[in-house]
């Protein structure tokens, strides 16, 4: 019995178990590897999808407004972060009908340098593009954020306010398409009493000038005078206006008691650069709701002794001529008065 039991113990087959174990291990390893690989891919897809969704969500949460403004006589803008997340400005596009400029972190002439990060409810009060404003030109400013959102603004502002509508109703229907800002009537002398009819003559005090209602008479100061006023295009048909070189500012002397000889003086329209230098005349284009400053620099005579004298009290008119859309345009604006002391 003992011999038989020993013999049967020797014959017990374990090879099948070992083989099955090895085979199972091999297949299990392959299967597990495949399963882990598929799981890894699925995990990567989920992470990427979550990041994409986060990016889209943040892009939707990001909101900002842009408005044009002048910064040291350069075209600039302000920006308000009205969204719920911090935003970063990476690029700025500035253009008008004849000009285009792209700005990013490599542009050193801009202030402050890009990129600029602004917190929620925060503001960028001024961004200076380093581009001098050309009078009469409408600039479009596009701001690109790091998340790919774009906001646009304009300089000068294009906003339709109730005041603008009222001014259009009162003035444009009765007087003409250009509305004058009475508070903008300014007067300048020239540096070194340079003849302002000459290009390159510096106006002073620049840019503020002085109010033009009461002035020292040129006869007493022996200095040239240049006048300026702001006008806004309020054409109800929203057309562009072009002012030509026939436009003038005219001053008529108040008649003396009991009558007298009528006298008047005329200043021709001109162009002044953003830094206050007189320039050769070129047509001034004014878009709908755009406000531009008109300068009347071409003097009536090179002899300042023929200018208004002390005590003269003059009525000021602005005669405008040019084109509106494809037709000619003319307007006479009774403006203000100037008293010479």
């Amino acid at each position: 019995m003992k011999r038989k039991r020993r013999f049967s113990r020797k014959r017990k087959a374990v090879s099948g178990i070992i083989s099955a174990t090895i085979l199972f291990t091999m297949l299990f390893t392959t299967g597990t590897t495949y399963f882990l690989f598929v799981s890894l891919l699925d995990q990567q897809r989920q992470i990427a999808a979550v990041k994409r969704a986060e990016g889209d969500q943040l892009q939707r949460l990001e909101k900002f407004d842009v408005g044009g403004r002048l910064v040291a006589n350069n075209v600039g803008f302000f920006l308000n972060n009205t969204g719920g997340v911090p935003m970063t400005i990476v690029s700025v596009f500035l253009s008008n009908s004849t000009f285009f400029k792209f700005m990013n972190s490599s542009n050193q002439e801009v202030t402050p340098r890009l990129p600029i990060t602004i917190n929620p409810a925060g503001s960028l009060n001024s961004f200076d593009t380093g581009v001098a404003e050309k009078s009469g030109s409408l600039y479009t400013i596009k701001v690109l954020s790091e998340r790919g959102n774009v906001a646009a603004g304009f300089w000068p502002f294009l906003t339709v306010t109730l005041e603008t509508i009222v001014r259009a109703a009162i003035l444009a229907q009765g007087a003409g398409f250009l509305a004058l800002d009475f508070n903008s009537y300014r007067a300048y002398n020239t540096t070194g009493n340079c003849n302002p009819s000459t290009a390159g003559c510096q106006l002073t005090p620049w840019p503020s000038g002085v109010a033009g209602y009461t002035l020292k008479s040129p006869q007493s100061t022996n200095r040239y005078i240049v006048f300026s006023a702001n006008v806004t295009n309020v054409d109800p048909q929203k057309r562009d206006l072009t002012i030509d070189s026939d436009s003038v500012l005219v001053q008529f002397l108040k008649p003396t008691t009991g009558g007298g000889t009528a006298r008047g003086w005329t200043w021709g329209i001109g162009i002044v650069s953003a830094t206050g230098l007189t320039q050769a005349y070129s047509a001034i284009s004014i878009s709908y709701l755009q406000t531009v400053t008109l300068y009347f620099i071409v003097i009536p005579s090179t002899n300042t002794q023929t200018y208004p004298a002390s005590g003269d009290f003059n009525a000021v008119f602005i005669y405008l001529h040019g084109n509106v859309a494809s037709t000619t345009y003319g307007q006479n604006i009774p403006f203000v008065t100037t008293k010479y002391t």
Partner: protein, 152 residues
């Protein structure tokens, strides 16, 4: 003997299964990679500057990887102008034109966080008209698209 037979037979099965798994893993990996690139690729068209027969288009990459702008279509509302640009040429109607109308030639590289411009010239006598709306449809390397429109 049984062990040897089992190992040989099992080994054959193992290598077959392993090779099939490798093929599937390669396919899955490629599909996954393509999908991940699609998710990570994002871009926008920021601006377009029109002249009489040219347009300069600005793209910004707000995604997480470098991509390429592969194809651009431009059309107007009436489809009287419909031009396609890619790296092999420019196509309008049944006519084709050389890639010299693209500067730089598509496909242009657009690294993450960067802005890139491309100037496209209209073929033949086609021109952009003032006050008309033009649509610009761009296709990037991994399949994302962006349609932008602007009035000249």
């Amino acid at each position: 003997m049984i062990i040897a037979v089992t190992i040989v037979a099992g080994g054959a099965v193992f290598f077959y299964v392993n090779s099939q798994a490798a093929v599937q893993e390669t396919r899955l990996g490629e599909a996954n990679s393509s999908y991940l690139n699609f998710l990570n690729e994002r871009f926008v068209t920021v601006n377009a500057n029109f002249s009489s027969n040219k347009v300069t288009i600005w793209f910004y990459n707000n995604g997480n990887l470098t991509t390429k702008i592969q194809q651009i279509w431009i059309w107007n509302t009436t489809r009287s102008l419909y031009v396609a640009y890619n790296s092999s040429g420019v196509f309008s109607g049944s006519s084709s034109y050389p890639v010299s109308l693209e500067s730089p030639v598509l496909s242009i590289s657009l690294p993450s966080g960067s802005t890139q411009k491309i100037t496209l010239t209209l073929p033949g006598t086609l021109t952009f008209s003032a006050s008309r709306t033009y649509y610009i449809h761009a296709v990037a390397q991994y399949g994302n698209t962006y349609t932008y429109f602007q009035v000249k």
